[in-house]
Symmetry: C4
Subunit: 204 residues, 4 copies
C-alpha cells in the first residue's frame, strides 16, 4: 500500500505522460501522392511542428508545476480527487486543439482554431488554480512543515497564467497569428529557467 498522495501523484503523472506523448499522433504522414515533392511537403506542415513544440512545452511546464505543488500536499480528500480529475481532463484534451490549430492556422478557420486553443489553456489554468485554491485555502491540505510564505508565493505566481492565456485567447479573434505566437512565447517563458523574471511578473 502506497500513501494516498503518492498514488494520486503517480496516476496524474501517467495521464500527463500519455497526453504529452499522444501529441505526435496528430502529425499526419503525408499521403503517398506527395512522394515526388516529399521534402517540400514535410516543410509545408511546419505549423504541425510548432504546435507540437508549443503543446509539449506547455504540458511539460504544467507537469513540472503539478509535481512541485504536489510536494506541499499532505493529504487528499474527495473534493481534491474531483478537482484533480477535472484538471487532468483539461490536460488530456490539449492534443485536440493543438491539431485543430496546426491544421487551420493558414486558413480562414484561423480565428476559431486559435480561440479554441486559447480557451482550452485558459480553462486548464483555471482548473489548476481551483485545484490549488481548494488545497491551500486555510491550508486545508497543506503539510504542516510548509511555511505560509511558500503557499502565498505560489498563489501569487498562478494568477498571471490565467490572465495571459485568457488575453491571448481574446487576441485570437483579431490576430490569430499573434495569438499563436503568444502561446508559444508563454510556454517558452515558463519553460526557461528565468525564476527571477517570473517572480517579477507575479508581483506586478
Amino acid at each position: 500500500m502506497r500513501s494516498e498522495t503518492a498514488r494520486l501523484e503517480a496516476f496524474s503523472d501517467g495521464v500527463f505522460a500519455i497526453a504529452i506523448t499522444l501529441l505526435i499522433i496528430e502529425i499526419h504522414v503525408p499521403a503517398r501522392e506527395h512522394a515526388e515533392t516529399l521534402g517540400h511537403e514535410l516543410l509545408r506542415i511546419w505549423p504541425s511542428y510548432l504546435g507540437y513544440l508549443t503543446s509539449f512545452l506547455t504540458i511539460g511546464v504544467m507537469w513540472i508545476n503539478h509535481h512541485y505543488v504536489f510536494e506541499l500536499i499532505g493529504r487528499v480528500d474527495r473534493t481534491m480527487l474531483l478537482l484533480n480529475t477535472l484538471l487532468l481532463m483539461m490536460i488530456a484534451f490539449v492534443p485536440f486543439p493543438t491539431a485543430v490549430l496546426a491544421q487551420f492556422i493558414e486558413t480562414d478557420g484561423a480565428r476559431a482554431a486559435a480561440a479554441l486553443y486559447g480557451a482550452t489553456l485558459t480553462l486548464t489554468s483555471i482548473a489548476f488554480f481551483a485545484w490549488w485554491r481548494y488545497a491551500s485555502t486555510e491550508r486545508r491540505l497543506i503539510r504542516e512543515e510548509v511555511p505560509d510564505d511558500v503557499v502565498n508565493d505560489i498563489t501569487r505566481a498562478y494568477t498571471p497564467g490565467t490572465l495571459l492565456y485568457g488575453g491571448a485567447a481574446l487576441i485570437a479573434f483579431l490576430q490569430p497569428w499573434l495569438s499563436a505566437a503568444l502561446y508559444l512565447g508563454i510556454a517558452v517563458f515558463y519553460a526557461l529557467p528565468l525564476a527571477q523574471w517570473r517572480e517579477r511578473l507575479a508581483r506586478s
Copy 2:
C-alpha cells in the same frame, strides 16, 4: 521486488490512465473543407465534448473506487488476477462506445449507440462487483485489520451502480437522449463529494 498487490495496483493504474487519456483521440479534427465555418463546425460536434466529459468522469470515478478498495486487499491470487484483467478489459473498452455514442446520438442510430454505451457500463460495473465479491466473500483477500463494517458498506454501495447503468441502458431503447443524460448524471453524481447522498442511495 515490490509487493504483489503494489504491482497489480500500478499495472491497473496504468491501464486506467491510458484508457482515460485515449478518449481524446476519438474527437476528430474537422476536415480541411470546413475552414470557412470552423467555428460553427467546432460547436456542431458538441456531443463529442459531452461524451468526453461523461466517460472521463466515469473512468475517473472508477479509478478512485478501484484505488479505494484496493487498499483493503491484503493479497492476490490467480482468480483475482483474472477478474482484475476482465475489469480492465471493460475499462479499456469505454473509448469505443463513447465515440459511437457521440457520432450517432443525433442520427437514427441513437438507440443502438446509447444501448451499446449502457451495456458497456453495465458490464463494467458487473465486472467490478464480481471482483469485489470474490475478494470480500468470507473476507477471502481482505486485510486482517479491516473491520467487517467497512467491507459490508462497500458491498451495499456497489449494488445501485449496476442497477442504475442497467436501467439507463434499457431506457436507451425508448429515449436515447434521456439515457445519455443519465450516463452523464450518474458520473457527476458519483464524482461530486456527496458522500451522504450516496450512502442514502446505498441503504435504500
Copy 3:
C-alpha cells in the same frame, strides 16, 4: 534511485499496459452512413470484439507471467536488457495482427491473417522462452534464495506455449477459423485458474 530490476520491471509494466489498452483503437467506429442500421452494423463487427478479447487475455496472461518470473530475478545485465527489449517489441506488436485478423477473418484473406497472428504469438513466446533461458541457465540471474525446483518447473511450463502457438499458426493455412478459435482457447486456458491442468500439460 530505485533498484535496477525494479526500474526494468516498471518500464516493462508500462509497455504491457499501453499495448493492452491500445487494442481498443483498432476497433473502428462505423461510418456515418450506417446510422439507420447501426445496431446491425455493431453486431456485424463481432470479430473485432472477439479479437479484442483474445488479445487482451493473451497480453494479460503474458503480463502475469512476466511479473511472476521477474520476482525470481536478482539482477539484470546488458544481454538481459536486450532480450527484454525484444520481448516487449513482440508484445507491443500484437495490436497489429489482432486488427488484421478481425478485419479479414471473414474474407479470402483469412489464411494469411490467421497465420500472421499465430506467427506473432509464436515469436512472442520464443522471445519469452529465450529471456527465461538466458536468466535461468546455470541460475545466471536468479536470486539465491529461489529453490532449483521452482526454476525447473517454470522451464517445463513454458515449453508447451511455443508448441501450441506454433501448431495453431500452421493450422491457419488449412482452417483459419479453427486456428482463430485455438488462439482464444489458449488464452482462456491460461487465464483460468486451472493450475493443476496446466501442470499436467507441462509434464506430458
Copy 4:
C-alpha cells in the same frame, strides 16, 4: 513524497514506454480490397516492419542509457527539467519520421524521408548530449560518490553517437537505402552486448 529525481525518472520512463509502444499504430492494416492477396500485401509492407524494429531498438537503447546515467544524478534543477523535457520531446517525435521513412523508402521521396529520420535522431542525440553535459560539467548534478572516471567515460562514449547519426543523415541525400541500413545497424550495434567494441569506438 518521492525524491525529486525518482519522480522525474518515473515520468521520463512513462514517456519512453508510450513512445516506443505507439510505434505500432503507424503500421496500417491493409484495406479491405486486398483480401484476396492479403499474404502478398502483408509482405509488401516490409519497410514498416523494419522501421518498427529500428525505432524500437533505437528508443530502447536510449531508454537504457537514460536510465543508466540517471543513476549518477543526485539532484535536478530547473534547467535540467527543461533539458529533459526537450529530450523527451525528441524521443516522442520518433514515431513520425519512422512512419514517413517506411511509407516513402521505395518512392521518389526516399531522400527526404531518410534525411528527416536522420535529422530527428541527430537532434535527439544532441539533446541527450546537452542534457549530460549540463549535468556533468564541473559535476554540477552528479552524486558525490560517483568517481570522475565514470563521468569522463560517459562523456567520451556519447560523442560518436551524434557523429554517426549526423553522418547517416547526410548520406541520406545520396543513398537513402544505405542511410536506412545504417540507422538499423547503429541501433543493433548499440543494442548488442558488445561493451568492448563500443569502448574502442569511443576511444578512437
